[in-house]
Amino acid sequence: MIPAVGVLGLLGLLAALGLAVASLRFRVEVDPRVEQLEGVLPGVNCGACGYAGCSALAQALAEGKAAPTACIPGGPDVAQAVAGILGVDAGETVQRVAVVHCKGSPDVAPDRGRYAGIPDCRAATLVGGGPKQCPYGCMGLGSCERACPFDAIHVGPDRLAHVDREKCTGCGACVEACPKRIIDLVPADRLVYIRCTNPHRGKAVKAVCSVGCIGCRRCEKTCPFGAISMDRDLARIDPEKCTSCGLCATVCPTSTIDDLVEVRYRARIDEDACIGCTKCAKVCPVDAIGGERKQPHRVDPEKCIACSQCTEACPVNAIHEGEPLVRGQGEAA
């Protein structure tokens, strides 16, 4: 009994010694930051960064090969955390969300034939471009849904893809998957969209869909910020210029433009705080603000379109939310 314990104990001791030596002698140098970085990355391995999963990105970040903002789904929070670990400046990140630029459900944009093939948009487009009459329309066979690593895009009973804006991280997997190229990443704070990508003439669009853009240019003429331009017979919003004021949606005759803002508030100037710098009057696109220099300014509520440009321009935060203005449909995109 005792010799056995002794022998085994000695063997164990020797083995432990060998392992201890090996672990010191053959240690693999790992940048400790890689593990830290893996800890802050989302860990869903979506591939939106272009690397083979979060570990590979962590490695690339530690080696300085990737920018701190490389993780798109992580957004500003992850970028900040990554920058903190690496000891660099994160720079600016814009949170984007996917927007499906089609609202042609079968009742307004009918099919031209029965598609009986593989239930996948990319397979369906091989058969004469897909079953929908509109060659740009969402077919609702769910390639985007299956591509989304965040369960954030779903085909609804209206056979259209809908983005869950809460879950969407803007990784762009659906953009890649859509054979019709009708999904787009838009800054999350832009809330007015033209939900059509059919550039054909109005008559041709009308023939295939009653909610498609017919190129009437009313939105282009209405936009106070020059944010809408025509691409052939399709209106497009420049997200850099758009302020989501929603005026375009009110004039669109085919309801192609969606306005997700439920309630806007007209500007109200706190006359005690106003220093009369005239900055608000200069940025107002509809000349709704008046007043003498160095004197308190006033907003004409009849003219105000609630675009909030003045609020942002005011150096002393003297412009607040005034009367509510209900304009948007507020429905989910």
Partner: protein, 442 residues
């Protein structure tokens, strides 16, 4: 001697050629409108050279070739250009087309000079005529013919095969052409042979056309530069690689073109069109189309001007019989189903097939029972069910390793599958994904 064949796979669909095999080709009267797509070939679409209101003559170029892998498009008859705009296209979404209102006079332009000595002309001159005449592979693939006749200098072509197999069920357009105009075909073959400096070519014909084998065989023996090779009745005997294997015993290696084994295959209709171009200066503006199926009242073989709407052809075949189930351009195995009878017949439209509702299989897709019939049927030695499983899981790299790109899309796998699984459709999809992945360099 047993007829030659390709060794691997193949199927025997009911051929249904009796509907039209004995019916001579009749010219189809001009329709009220011709819709002539600017893209009727593989490669860059032609650029329109006419505009609304222009008067055109038959054979006048209305679209010019854009680059080498492209061919011009010609007015099929004289008339007025009504518009140039996207119109229904047999291969997919609407594409730009020239819409012509025929004036009924059918006056011809003489833009294209015939060659003084078609059989002794310079090969480059012949190729140039063939491109100028807008000739493409008329078996259905519509690859520009002059490109096929221009192999790189290091490639030696020693075998020219004319494809008169017509293995697609229902279709009899090539059969009728061989019976009615064998001299045009043989003269065209002689022109092709002269391009490659060869003195003998082959014509492959399936044994279900004994009259064509007999007639062309006799003419070929008389003229001395051609040999008719009778082939076993098995689909897809007329697929390019299978035909080369059957006639020459050579196997085109995976991922390569027929020229890799020194062979060039041309459809018999293409050969006839080549002869028209070099001997008479006639561009490709008409073809023989079989309008057939149990869904039309009187199936017929028609000589059709390019751009004739399918609706017009169906009317010429006596209209619909029973409730229509499916409209297919081409044959039932590789043709493309279409929803719109206003789609025009184009250079590659060998057939217009109408199936009544009760002949269209609508069985729901079942689970794969691993019977292996698709593997046995595949003439390329692929494993369709495996490819389909791989692509269903987006395993694109693995689909590539399983040689998805070697699929010739003949549809034999889908035809034999007892579970009604859309196998060839899945592989077609897989091929697109594999090619996209290769382009990305993945």
């Amino acid at each position: 001697m047993a007829a030659r064949s390709f060794p691997l796979g193949g199927v025997h669909p009911p051929d249904q050629k009796h509907l039209t095999a004995a019916k001579p080709v009749e010219p189809a009267p001009l329709p009220d409108l011709l819709v002539v797509p600017l893209s009727q070939h593989i490669g860059a679409p032609a650029r329109p050279v006419v505009k609304k209101g222009d008067r055109v003559l038959a054979g006048q170029a209305i679209g010019e070739a854009v680059g080498f892998v492209s061919v011009p498009v010609h007015a099929p008859t004289s008339g007025k250009v009504l518009r140039v705009e996207p119109a229904p296209h047999p291969l997919g979404p609407p594409q730009p087309a020239v819409v012509i209102e025929p004036d009924g006079e059918d006056r011809w332009a003489d833009d294209l000079e015939p060659l003084a000595d078609p059989h002794g002309a310079d090969p480059d001159e012949i190729r140039q005529r063939i491109q100028a005449a807008g000739i493409v592979g008329m078996g259905g693939a519509t690859f520009p013919t002059h490109v096929k006749l221009s192999p790189p200098p290091e490639v030696k072509i020693d075998t020219v095969i004319l494809n008169g197999v017509e293995c697609e069920p229902y279709l009899t357009a090539d059969h009728r052409l061989m019976l009615e105009e064998p001299d045009r075909i043989l003269a065209g073959l002689r022109v092709i042979l002269s391009v490659f400096g060869l003195d003998k070519g082959y014509i492959g014909i399936e044994e279900n056309k004994p009259d064509a084998i007999e007639l062309l065989g006799r003419k070929a023996r008389e003229q001395g530069f051609a040999e008719v090779v009778p082939l076993a009745v098995k689909y897809p005997q007329g697929a390019e690689k299978q035909l080369i294997k059957a006639v020459t015993g050579r196997e085109v290696p995976s991922g390569q073109l027929p020229m890799a084994v020194g062979a060039v295959v041309q459809n018999v209709g293409t050969a006839a069109a080549i002869w028209d171009a070099v001997s008479a200066g006639r561009p490709l503006v008409e073809r023989i189309t079989t309008v057939t199926g149990e869904g039309v009242a009187e199936p017929r073989n028609l000589r059709v001007r390019i751009g004739t709407p399918v609706r017009h052809l169906i009317e010429l075949a006596g209209g619909l019989r029973g409730e229509p189930g499916k409209l297919i351009l081409g044959g039932p195995m590789m043709g493309i189903a279409h929803h719109d009878p206003d789609v025009p017949a184009v250079k590659g439209t060998s057939g217009v097939l109408l199936l009544p509702r009760d002949r269209v299989r609508t069985a729901p897709e079942g689970p794969c029972i691993r019977c292996g019939r698709c593997v046995d049927a595949c003439p390329m030695g692929l494993a369709p069910t495996t490819l389909r499983t791989l692509i269903a899981h987006e395993m694109v790299a693995e689909a590539d390793e399983w040689n998805a790109l070697d699929c010739i899309e003949c549809g034999s796998c889908s035809f034999v599958c007892p579970a009604a699984i859309p196998l060839v459709q899945a592989i077609r999809y897989a091929k697109g994904r594999v090619m996209a992945r290769r382009r990305k360099g993945g």
